[in-house]
């Protein structure tokens, strides 16, 4: 057993209001630069929808992630070892800017400088790459809130396996439904981007599992962009280097939540440490599709088990991190309650960002002008939900409904229980029946309710101590470090010479 710690995340989709505050916070801090204008390390997509870059989930087009053929060990689907050398001059699966969008701004000067004429001057859109006029035909949220859904939502790869009737219902006006999927780098346990980098520029930090790109070693071979199935590594067209979400590690190291977490209006984001067994990553990544969700959970270790604690200590994990793992909200959501699920685990990168599947809208039984609450239940059965179970299963369960059904059932049970507690128009027996069916106790339901609805900053973000001050002493002379105010010699990212 090789115990490591990983800063992991949970996004509670039932709480996301799609305000894009996270995207803006991230953009302002990290990617508001030349070459990075088109990058959204954090983006929020409307589902069903094609997302950003367009149809990123369609791996027949992008060839991202790991592929498993028969009994052979998994291999990188884009350019593995055998294929990287002949394809190094031209990556066959490299997305181009057209797959994202061409960033643009507006020619505001024209409002002031335009010659006097019969018409009001306008600020024309201009490309941020070429500076020339541009006809804006795509953007990072082009299909936001189902805009243009006959074109975009209808092409969502997650609709696979849905019946024609279900597809029609999804887009019919009366039953229209959508939810939001905020996405950042998943900081995977088996990252395809890292494994694909010919230069070895990408790496996973041993202490906290954050996946980073060494900007000085990146040589723009572009393999990571093609290999990441979530398309969360981006190519900076100006500096000629790839970039990605860094989980705001400078903020984490000073005890602050990442910018997107910190700014989240819906408070959907949770962050905490998980302990896992690194020796079994390869074994789990090779499991059949239907065992991947359970397999990944089996990697995550119980931080309360004295045996695990002892082994973690001998593996060099500081007591502060272990203590942090015991308070981790992610451990509760993923392991204790099994509410949070990894996105598209069939890509086999073992993402360490988990999503709580969203409940579809609560509906009253409408009969003519009367809204009747005395239907079979106050809440819809999860099978009658507007978002078909199969859709969520494609997104969060590698196509299998079991884990998604469990997570939705438990959320529903919590609602019944809390309704019985707070409003009291439901008898206790009904609530208890739902709890029993969902494999949930009253204590657990209350705890889920508290961490979902009443959670404070400290509940949501249990940031482990990173001990960077000690780490620095091992690799640098402290006086030198101090003289450089901790930054080292900083050179701006210049393109070429």
């Amino acid at each position: 057993m090789n115990i490591r710690s990983q800063v992991s995340m949970v996004f509670h989709l039932d709480k996301c209001i799609g305000c894009h505050t996270c995207s803006i916070a991230c953009k302002n801090v990290w990617t508001d630069r030349k070459g990075a204008e088109y990058m959204w390390w954090n983006n929020v997509e409307t589902k069903p929808g094609t997302g950003y870059p367009t149809k990123w989930e369609d791996q027949d087009q992008y060839h991202g992630g790991w592929e498993k053929k028969g009994d052979r060990p998994i291999n990188i689907r884009s350019t593995g070892k055998a294929r990287v050398v002949p394809n190094i001059f031209h990556n066959p699966y490299m997305p181009s800017m057209d797959d994202y969008y061409e960033p643009w701004t507006y020619d505001y000067q024209n409002l002031f400088n335009a010659k006097e004429g019969a018409d009001q001057p306008i600020a024309k859109p201009i490309s941020m790459i070429t500076g020339e006029d541009i006809k804006v035909e795509a953007g990072p949220n082009w299909d936001d809130d189902l805009g243009g859904s006959p074109i975009y939502a209808a092409n969502d790869p997650n609709l696979e396996g849905l019946t024609e009737e279900q597809r029609l219902q999804l887009s019919s006006v009366e039953r229209l439904v959508f939810f939001y999927l905020p996405r950042i780098c998943n900081h995977c346990l088996n990252p395809c981007c890292v494994a694909s980098c010919p230069s070895g520029a990408l790496y996973k930090r041993g202490e906290d599992g954050i996946v980073l790109i060494d900007q000085k070693r990146c040589r723009a071979w572009r393999s990571c962009v093609a290999a990441c199935p979530y398309k969360k590594t981006y190519f900076n067209w100006f500096t000629g280097k790839s970039e990605k979400c860094i989980l705001c590690y400078p903020r984490l190291e000073t005890g602050q939540a990442p910018a997107c977490f910190h700014s989240c209006v819906g408070r959907i984001r949770y962050l905490g440490v998980l302990l896992y067994d690194a020796d079994r990553i390869e074994e789990v990544a090779n499991l059949p599709d239907d065992q991947l969700v359970e397999g990944q959970r089996s990697l995550i270790l119980n931080p309360f088990d004295p045996e695990i604690i002892r082994k973690a200590q001998s593996a060099g994990i500081p007591d502060g991190v272990i203590e942090s793992a015991q308070r981790s909200p992610v451990y509760k959501f993923v392991m204790e309650w099994k509410l949070a699920l990894p996105p598209h685990i069939e890509y086999r990168t073992l993402p360490m960002l988990f999503y709580v599947p969203p409940m579809s809208p609560v509906m009253a039984d409408v009969n003519g002008d009367l809204a009747n609450h005395a239907m079979d239940g106050l809440f819809h059965s999860i099978d009658a939900a507007r978002v078909p179970m199969q859709y969520l299963a494609n997104l969060l369960g590698a196509g299998n409904e079991g884990a998604v059904r469990y997570a939705l059932g438990k959320q529903l049970a919590v609602r019944w229980h809390r309704r019985a507690e707070t409003v009291g128009d439901i008898d206790r027996a009904t609530a208890d029946r739902y709890l029993r069916e969902a494999n949930c106790t009253i204590e657990e339901a209350d705890e889920i309710y508290r961490l979902t609805s009443l959670c404070t900053f400290e509940d949501r973000f249990v940031i482990p101590p990173m001990y960077r001050e000690q780490a620095i002493e091992m690799i640098r002379e402290p006086h030198e470090q101090k003289a450089e105010t901790g930054f080292g010699f900083v050179g701006g990212p210049r393109r070429g010479l």
């Binding site: 050398v85 001059f89 070429t130 890292v194 070895g200 996973k204 000629g240 780490a471 393109r495």
Partner: protein, 230 residues
């Protein structure tokens, strides 16, 4: 008299200046500006013509350079190979074919950079100068293959000794005296490109990713170095 000094400048002084610049500046740049070592790929900005320009160019130029290196490093073996006529023909035709492939690719690269407005934005003056030099170099190279055939033979007997004499620090340009101006131009430009190399995007050649094929797929870096290895 003037011709003599001119030759000495072009074939003795210039090569040493260029080689010195090459070694000094590539090392200096790697140490001080390692961030700038990048292939500066533009595939992201233009992905339709990229394949048809970049791939022929790279496969062509790599084969041609390997050919030059063979003639430089093992001239005797090369001459032995050429002693049978059909083997000489195979070598010459292959060399010419890859030379033409390089030329097609290079023209493609230049046309692509000139026509795509996005790619033009990431093309510098240095890039254009480099493309110009490479174009002249490839054109003179292909022309030689056509005008002065059996280059694989005379390179090994005349140019290899000259190049070795440069390397051994006892330059001897008597081998070059009788060379046509086309070949002399090719030689001079070759040294100029070597000297210009550290100031251009060509440095990506030096950071080709060889350890990749042998390393473990996943890379883990520990700050607690010495305590534990990933």
């Amino acid at each position: 008299m003037n011709q003599h000094f001119f030759d000495q400048f072009l074939f003795i002084a210039l090569p040493y200046v260029c080689l010195f610049t090459f070694f000094l500046m590539t090392i200096y740049r790697y140490r001080v500006q390692s961030f700038s070592y990048s292939s500066l790929s533009s595939q992201f900005l233009e992905n339709k013509n990229h394949f048809w320009a970049v791939v022929p160019f790279h496969y062509g130029i790599l084969t041609v350079i390997v050919g030059h290196l063979i003639a430089f490093s093992i001239p005797r073996s090369l001459l032995a190979w050429n002693s049978v006529p059909w083997r000489l023909y195979v070598l010459e035709v292959t060399a010419l074919a890859f030379g033409i492939l390089t030329l097609i690719g290079l023209v493609g690269v230049i046309v692509r950079r000139a026509t795509s407005t996005k790619v033009r934005k990431v093309t510098t003056v240095v890039d254009w100068v480099l493309f110009g030099m490479l174009l002249v170099q490839v054109v003179t190279g292909v022309s030689q293959a056509l005008l002065y055939p059996w280059g694989s033979a005379w390179f090994a007997t005349s140019l290899t000794p000259y190049l070795w004499s440069i390397l051994k620090l006892s330059p001897d340009i008597s081998y070059l005296a009788a060379m046509p101006w086309l070949i002399k131009l090719h030689i001079v430009l070759a040294f100029l490109i070597i000297g210009f190399f550290p100031f251009t995007r060509l440095v990506h050649v030096l950071v080709v990713p060889n350890p990749y094929l042998w390393r473990k797929p996943q890379v883990v870096r520990w700050y607690r170095r010495g305590v534990k290895k990933g």
